[in-house]
């Protein structure tokens, strides 16, 4: 356990073949992260069909490398183009874009990449130590415990996700409904198909991801006109080293961001609040908070550290519990199932090489990633200078190819368009998309856990409160679900009865 396992992992991850796979993945991922309309989740979804013929370890290294690349790429668009590719890059634009406008783009990018790397590395080290013990505990879990964890997963979207909690709930419910369309594998009955043959196959989450995040995002981004605009940057090696001399000054922000990121990140939907929280803390503890928002380097360091730490931490529940912490992790979980692996704690027993290869590849992938983005920023930034009328149709075609490749079905491309429109409307009305995707992926698992629990208890819901592990987690989940009601009540009580002295 521990070091030997990690060494085994490095033997898997550091083969010439897998290194090349990682370099390819990071390169592709960064391009995907830079391109509008393509992000981590749907980039991985589009490329998933290409991995069906690969060995699982190389396949997961490719997909995770794409994920790291996309995280780095997101920083490039946020800083140079003021376009946050992902919701957790929004906070990076606050100070990153002003810096780029002041001609400090190189400095901002170096700070962003370095922070991302530090945050990611922190989370990877924690995963290395905590993954195996967590999986060991999870081996003792039964269906009620797993259902309780699912409940906790979704309750954290409602309670901690921000925005309108009711709309989060609606997204979750409709994700589950979409998941239940088609054949019920337990009873063999057809559900919600209404005699339509095309509905029998159900809705594939990959198609939903490509539509919601790909097409939907493009539609949203073109509202301001059919073009993309950005600041120019000169990226010289001297700028990188000069910035590295400044960065140690912000070590407190690095540490704080890493902890916030990891803590928020292994719960679903955590990356976005983590980045904002880290930014807010950095501003509060800064000696010159008035410079935040106008081009303060620390304002780039804080959200990037937290977002990347959270992005990596999202992998922890995926490999140990089989419950993904982010939409991208959800797509990878779908990949595991397609490659014939059973996600969850048994992976650590049955597929040690795979799991530890994956963990080791997180180290190599992020090192390769930070080196590549620092070296090739001008190239990646140049992608966004490709004229709009060329880039957009190509992205649409790539999305269509990805959607079709899942099942070789034409209907999936129509679903993709439909999900694109749904994604556009939902985004505009503040319905969060991540819980919908997670519910669609986890639908069958959650429903089966619920059914098995109820069979164990002869139909009584008490089973979720009598087993110790399930009881604690269910209790926490109920608390999270109730948070949107409790918080305003608590605030008004405190404000009314005893005015806060602090």
């Amino acid at each position: 356990m521990g070091i030997e396992d990690l060494l085994l992992g490095f033997q898997v991850a550091v083969t010439p073949h897998n290194i090349v796979v990682a370099i390819l993945g990071v390169g592709l991922g960064t391009i995907i992260g830079v391109l509008p309309g393509l992000g981590g989740a749907n980039g991985v979804a589009i490329l998933l069909p290409l991995t069906f013929t690969m060995p699982p370890t190389s396949a997961i290294i490719l997909l995770t490398s794409i994920y790291w690349g996309a995280l780095f790429g997101g920083a490039i668009t946020s800083i140079l183009f003021n376009i946050p590719g992902e919701p957790w890059s929004v906070a990076t634009t606050f100070d990153g874009y002003p810096l780029a406008q002041q001609g400090q783009g190189g400095q901002a990018l170096t700070a962003a990449f370095t922070s991302s790397f530090v945050g990611a590395f922190f989370s990877i080290v924690l995963i290395t130590f905590f993954a195996a013990p967590l999986a060991e505990i999870a081996l003792k879990f039964g269906p009620p415990d797993f259902f309780a964890i699912q409940l906790l997963t979704f309750s954290s979207f409602v309670g901690l996700g921000g925005g309108n909690p009711l709309k989060s709930l609606v997204s979750i419910v409709f994700g589950f409904m979409l998941a239940s369309v088609g054949l019920d594998i337990v009873t063999g009955q057809l559900r919600l198909t209404f005699g339509v043959t095309d509905l029998m196959k159900g809705f594939d989450f990959i198609v939903a991801v490509i539509g919601l995040f790909g097409i939907g995002e493009i539609l949203l981004s073109v509202e301001e006109g059919l073009r993309f605009q950005g600041a120019r940057t000169g990226m010289k090696l001297s700028v990188v080293f000069d910035t590295w001399k400044i960065l140690p000054r912000y070590w407190r922000t690095f540490v704080r961001g890493s902890f916030i990121g990891f803590w928020m990140g292994f719960k679903p939907g955590g990356a976005t609040p983590a980045s904002f929280m880290s930014y807010a803390f950095a501003k509060r503890f800064s000696r010159n908070p008035e410079r935040f928002g106008k081009g303060e380097l620390e304002g780039v360091v804080a959200p990037e550290t937290a977002a990347h730490a959270a992005g990596v931490a999202a992998m922890l529940p995926m490999i140990t519990l089989g419950i993904p912490g982010s939409p991208t992790a959800a797509v990878m979980l779908g990949g595991l199932i397609i490659w014939g692996l059973q996600p969850g704690p048994m992976l650590f027993v049955e597929q040690r090489e795979f799991v530890w290869g994956l963990i080791a590849s997180m180290y190599t992938g992020n090192i390769i990633g930070v080196a590549m983005v620092l070296a090739f920023v001008p190239f990646f930034a140049a992608i966004l200078r490709i004229p709009f009328a060329i880039l957009t149709p190509v992205i649409v075609v790539v999305c269509a190819v990805g959607a079709y490749a899942v099942h070789n079905a034409m209907i999936d491309i129509w679903y993709m368009l439909l999900f694109g429109v749904v994604g556009y409307v939902f985004k505009k009305l503040d319905y969060p998309l991540a819980p919908l995707v997670l519910a669609l992926v986890l639908g069958d698992l959650a429903e089966n856990a619920l059914r098995q629990s109820l069979i164990m208890s002869q139909g009584s819901l008490e089973i979720f409160f009598t087993r110790p592990i399930a009881a604690v987690i269910t209790g926490l989940a109920i608390l999270f679900f109730a948070l949107p009601v409790i918080t305003p009540w608590w605030r008004s009580r405190r404000a009314g009865v005893a005015p806060p002295s602090a």
Partner: protein
Amino acid sequence: MRAADLTTAVVLFLLAGVVLADALRLGIGWGTDGPKSGFFPFWLAVVGMVTCAVIAAQAARRRAKGTFVTREQARPVLKVLGPAAALVLAMQFVGLYVAAGVYIGLYMHWIGRHAWWLVALLSVAIPVITFVIFERWFLVPMPKGPLEDWLGY
């Protein structure tokens, strides 16, 4: 914004109602060996309908604030969505590669006003590259039409 919020909530409410109806048909109670097929969807539909009703009520009470989409915003959105829908429709008859070539070419000409040689180059090159990557390297078949038949694929 208010009208769009209301409409969406009502549409989602009705969809949840459809789910509810099908769940009732399947049976929501206890079968011979556990909950029936409709059990889970039933409770989803109940939660969905209640939540959508509350959202609709919230939206109805709120004063109208901003527009969902202005005419200036809608035009570029439709200029992306319309051609994309045409692409998917064309794909069913001529296959992905030909449809993609024509789509990229027309889009570049219509929106970008690019030079004809660039339009011609890219509308041939991109489908060919896609073809090589997917059909040759990764053996993932895409929808094909008469042209591919004629070429012998």
